[in-house]
């Protein structure tokens, strides 16, 4: 029964990891940018939420309605300025620039918010409570909600990419930037839209993690970015649903590892990650580039 519990917990945590990963995957799939500041931006979203709640005393969920659009706009602006100018030089430059961004954000957060970790306190029973199945399986409502949000986000992204005008342009630009230009599409603008989507999901990831656990200035790189990477690589680069699969596999590996020995939790996840890299480097979903 303890093993069943581990697997259930792992699957549900996978939803959180998919939220971490889908923005990273989208940005790589569309503009070939590996955003090393991805995790830090999630943390920024969490801190903004904490700030908004502290200052305005709006209910937690209301603050999300502010944070997600703000991060989306920030994504568009960053893409059109810093990231695009790096892209114009070379794809490699984007690695350096986003790494720089990551360092700046982390140290900025340390400066202004200290190294103390904070959680997004909701006070909602839905967030803190859990329900039991049998005597050994306890499931937190929050994890179920996060998993559901992840599925809804992925469905939404897929729907947007497949039927909307900008979704079509995003896929066209990902296929052939020049040909899209010849059809009148400004690929920089389209990249900006894709980045806005990615940053929106990053914001959700940061908020989810802030409620599930605690945020500190370094959480972005040492947890969120690494887990996002692992989920993306396990699932298959550039595939949206692959991020959910990758997240679930990572989550289950961690929980099963923790079941064997609590100190194996993180290690087990990375061992699976390494095994996939060696045995199936294209990821578990072999289909290329959903986006």
């Amino acid at each position: 029964m303890a093993w069943v519990n581990a697997i259930i917990q792992g699957v549900l945590t996978g939803g959180l990891y998919a939220l971490f990963a889908c923005g990273l995957s989208l940005m790589f799939g569309v503009m070939k940018v590996v955003n090393l500041a991805h995790g830090d931006l999630a943390v920024v979203a969490g801190y903004i939420a904490i700030g908004v709640i502290t200052v305005t005393h709006v209910p937690v969920l209301w603050s999300f309605l502010i944070v997600v659009p703000v991060m989306a706009v920030l994504g568009y602006v960053l893409q059109r300025t810093v990231i695009q100018s790096a892209l114009d030089r070379s794809v490699l430059t984007t690695l350096i620039v986003t790494f720089g961004l990551s360092v700046v954000i982390e140290n900025g957060l340390l400066q202004f918010f200290t190294a103390n970790s904070r959680a997004i306190g909701t006070g909602l029973p839905l967030v803190s409570d859990s329900f039991s199945i049998g005597s050994q399986i306890q499931i937190a409502y929050l994890l179920v909600v996060i998993f559901a949000v992840a599925v809804v986000v992925l469905l939404g992204l897929q729907y947007f990419l497949s039927v909307s005008r900008y979704g079509r342009l995003i896929r066209a630009v990902a296929d052939d930037r020049e040909a899209a230009q010849l059809a009148g599409a400004d690929y920089r603008h389209v990249f900006g839209i894709a980045a806005a989507l990615a940053f929106g999901t990053v914001a959700l990831a940061g908020l989810a993690y802030g409620m599930y656990s605690q945020l500190s200035p370094t959480t972005g790189t040492d947890t969120i970015l690494l887990f996002a990477f692992a989920a993306v690589v396990i699932g298959g680069l550039g595939s949206l649903w692959g991020t959910l699969l990758g997240g679930v596999v990572l989550g289950v590996a961690q929980q099963v590892g923790a079941q064997i020995n609590i100190s194996y939790e993180v290690l087990a996840g990375y061992l699976v990650f390494l095994a996939v890299l060696v045995l199936r480097p294209q990821g578990l979903t072999s289909r290329r580039a959903q986006s």
């Binding site: 005008r165 079509r168 342009l169 896929r171 066209a172 990902a174 296929d175 052939d176 020049e178 040909a179 899209a180 230009q181 010849l182 059809a183 009148g184 599409a185 400004d186 690929y187 580039a289």
Partner: protein
């Protein structure tokens, strides 16, 4: 290769076609497209060297030349994909030299790129929709493209990557037409396609032109170019070597201009040929 000399029938047709417009170009009004002293570098290589010409509304203007003559570079520069080192591109009297390709496309300079360049992960219809996304007002709709290319409607949901080369070329042309261009740039339509398919695609040009379009095309296949074009412009190593109506061309002249043979009227014709 220069194949046209062996093809007497098409030569005659070309002459006849030109004769119908009186043998002379109707050089009246503003040129739809004008290129002035265009210089383009590829690194150390001077891909285009002071090329100038004018294309008037309704013309089918063909750029011919051997591999590496700079034909595609010329077309790509007009579309905005290469920045010229010097010279300018004028579209309907306005200088568009500094405009980005997407801006030019929205104004009406649309290119069918070499190698089709369809969006492989998109369906046929999605490819067409991308072409229509920033379209000008005009006669072309997806419905009309389906009417023009009969087979396309049935296979509209297929992935563009699954089509044959000729079918892809048709979709690429349809995608470009949906932008409702004023000038259509066709880059090596025949590349990698069976002759029959090439014939069929060129055979559709009159139908496309009926919508009041100006065409600038690049073609390695000289016989094909002479057959469809109202004006021919030959490039050799980035320079103009010959310009005129197909009617004014002789086999020797074209051959000399195409290959840059000694003894032909090649020395210094760039200036001579580019003077309006």
């Amino acid at each position: 290769m220069v194949r046209w000399a062996a093809n007497g029938a098409s030569r005659e047709r070309a002459v006849k076609g030109a004769a119908e417009v009186g043998g002379e170009r109707a050089e009246s009004g503003t040129p739809m497209l004008e290129v002035r002293d265009l210089v383009v570098h590829h690194g150390q290589l001077r891909a285009l060297d002071a090329v100038s010409f004018r294309v008037f509304p309704g013309e089918i203007y063909a750029i011919i030349g051997a591999n590496g003559a700079g034909k595609s570079t010329l077309l790509r520069t007009i579309a905005g994909l290469h920045p010229p080192a010097a010279g300018s591109v004028l579209f309907d009297g306005t200088d568009v030299t500094r405009l980005r390709p997407e801006r030019r496309a929205r104004r009406g300079i649309v290119m069918v790129p070499e190698g089709r360049r369809l969006f492989g992960s998109l369906s046929v219809e999605e490819n067409l929709r991308v072409g229509a996304a920033y379209a000008r007002q005009g006669p072309w709709t997806i419905e009309r493209v389906y009417e023009t290319f009969g087979w396309m409607r049935e296979r509209r949901n297929q992935s563009a990557a699954q089509l044959s080369g000729g079918e892809q070329q048709a979709v690429a042309i349809g995608r470009a037409l949906l932008g409702n261009p004023r000038v259509l740039l066709l880059d090596e339509l025949s590349l990698g396609l069976a002759p029959v398919v090439v014939q069929r695609i060129y055979g559709m040009l009159p139908q496309i032109l009926a919508a009041g379009l100006t065409v600038l095309l690049v073609e390695q296949d000289v016989s094909q170019a002479l057959r469809v074009a109202s004006h021919i412009h030959c490039l050799l190593e980035g320079r103009t070597t010959l310009e005129g109506t197909p009617a004014s061309m002789t086999a020797d002249k074209v051959e000399a201009a195409y290959f840059g043979l000694a003894g032909a009227t090649v020395p210094g014709p760039a200036q001579e040929g580019s003077e309006p």
